[in-house]
């Protein structure tokens, strides 16, 4: 709570432009969605680069600096499993959803549906 107020206060006193404010809010909005998208994509096994490509093809671009820490965090939480394997004469780290990840993903998708329905109602009323 305090941290949020601090950040807001800092931003309002600095020379933040509308574009910067929008970028920050967009990042906040994307953060949760990216996790959901990554978990969904990893129902099938992929390595980092093909995962980034798959997401980008569906319109959700994600840079290396965001994806790899996210993958490591999800793996440390037990939602993903990974394995280094040789493919095309190069070592690649393949990720896929763990059984626990599958469960959590289903719960998250239900939650996402609820949020989506609520937001649609709110936006229609606006």
């Amino acid at each position: 709570m305090y941290h949020t107020v601090y950040v807001t206060s800092y931003m309002s006193t600095s020379t933040t432009t509308n574009a910067e404010i929008f970028e920050n809010l967009k990042l906040e909005l994307r953060r949760g969605c990216l996790t959901l998208a990554v978990l969904t994509q990893l129902r099938a096994e992929r390595y980092g680069y093909t995962l980034r490509k798959a997401l980008a093809e569906d319109g959700l671009e994600i840079d290396e600096g965001t994806l790899y820490p996210l993958l490591r965090r999800l793996e440390s939480q037990g939602l993903l499993v990974s394995q280094w394997r040789e493919e095309d004469k190069r070592n690649k780290r393949f990720y896929r959803l763990s059984p626990q990840g599958e469960q959590i993903l289903n719960q998250l998708l239900d939650e996402w549906q609820r949020i989506h329905t609520s937001l649609s109602k709110i936006l229609q009323g606006a």
């Binding site: 305090y2 980092g48 680069y49 840079d63 290396e64 600096g65 790899y68 280094w84 190069r90 070592n91």
Partner: protein, 353 residues
């Protein structure tokens, strides 16, 4: 920096630079291998798209898009902060308390005067020395506090703070039309009582104000004139605190009485300063005089002069402070009267109707 013959070498240079900025504790090789694989895949795909091997400029463009090694390492590494959001408000509170409310007053009221005494009245040297000491003191204090909080952060000693709170133990909602807090009034009475005792004993025990200097200093005759008014003012202050404590519902009383007391103090201070500094040509009335045995000592004469000057400066500073207090108290009293007459300033309820 030379351009490599093999453009792919640029990737190795880039990865080496990223590795430099990554914390050693992180699974460095894992992270670097994964990033390297990603970059090589991008290069491979670009080559397939263009139909020829990439040159150094094209590889460089891919690396440029990826970001500077330092920034990429920062993104890939764990989120680092010296003091996290849980501890930060407490850290800020402690820092303010120590620096503003302890360290600065200690320097102004204790170390500053000691330096003046040590410098033998050389105010310039004393001020420069005090400011230097204050500056290093602030740094050391801020550094130590930061270090302690960083250790608490690292040891996770604060982990339970967020859970160890009880809504039932939160302080009650403060009323907007605030009556003088009980604790404040109780402290006033406590210190006022001991102050009064001290004042009553002063004529008999000059050591209470002069300390060890009583061997060569005496209280000046000027105090005989002002002793009774000071005593009456102290008694009035004690009575005011007593009435405030006994009649907390009299919201107007402390405001009016404090203002009245401040005005009387101002008048008294004014008289004291004017009496000490009579018109030109007349004798000056010192606050302390030398004892008969020390009247011929040049060193004691100088000490007495410094003490007299210090008391005069303190009285002038007190006069200025009371002037400001009178202005603020008048403003607050006017605001109180305005609120009373308009009916505003009633406590705001947080209850949802």
């Amino acid at each position: 920096m030379s351009t490599p013959r093999n453009p792919i070498e640029l990737v190795d240079r880039y990865l080496q630079a990223v590795r430099f900025w990554l914390p050693k504790s992180l699974r460095q090789e894992d992270v670097i291998a994964e990033l390297g694989e990603d970059l090589r895949s991008q290069i491979e795909e670009k080559e397939a798209e263009l139909g020829h091997p990439l040159d150094a400029t094209e590889v460089s463009a891919i690396l440029k898009r990826c970001g500077s090694p330092m920034i990429v390492a920062a993104r890939l590494g764990p989120k680092q902060h010296l003091i996290g959001p849980t501890l930060f408000p407490i850290y800020l509170f402690v820092l303010k308390m120590v620096l503003l409310w302890i360290l600065v007053p200690v320097f102004i009221f204790i170390i500053g005067p000691v330096n003046v005494a040590k410098a033998g009245g050389d105010w310039g040297t004393a001020l420069a020395g005090t400011l230097g000491d204050l500056w290093s003191g602030l740094f050391v204090a801020a550094g130590t506090i930061t270090l302690v909080f960083a250790v608490i952060e690292r040891t996770h000693a604060h982990a339970s703070i967020a859970d160890k709170w009880d809504p039932l133990k939160l302080p009650p909602v403060r009323k907007q039309e605030r009556k003088t807090p009980l604790m404040h009034t109780a402290c006033e009475i406590f210190f006022g009582f001991f102050g009064l005792i001290w004042l009553l004993l002063l004529p008999h025990y000059s050591g209470l104000i002069l300390g060890p200097a009583r061997t060569f200093l005496r209280i000046g005759p000027i105090w005989h004139t002002f002793y009774v008014p000071i005593l009456l003012l102290a008694i009035a202050g004690l009575l005011r605190s007593g009435i405030t404590l006994a009649r907390p519902q009299w919201a107007w009383f402390p405001r009016v009485a404090e203002l009245l007391q401040a005005v009387l103090s101002l008048i008294l201070l004014n008289f004291m300063i004017n009496s000490a500094l009579p018109p030109a040509g007349a004798d000056w009335h010192p606050f302390v005089v030398l004892a008969d045995a020390a009247k011929n000592s040049a060193q004691y004469i100088r000490v007495a002069a410094i003490v007299n000057a210090s008391i005069l400066v303190s009285l002038a500073a007190a006069w200025l402070g009371v002037c400001i207090a009178v202005a603020i108290q008048t403003w607050q009293l006017l605001g109180f009267i305005r609120n009373r007459t308009s009916g505003a300033g009633q406590p705001a309820s947080l209850h949802v109707q």
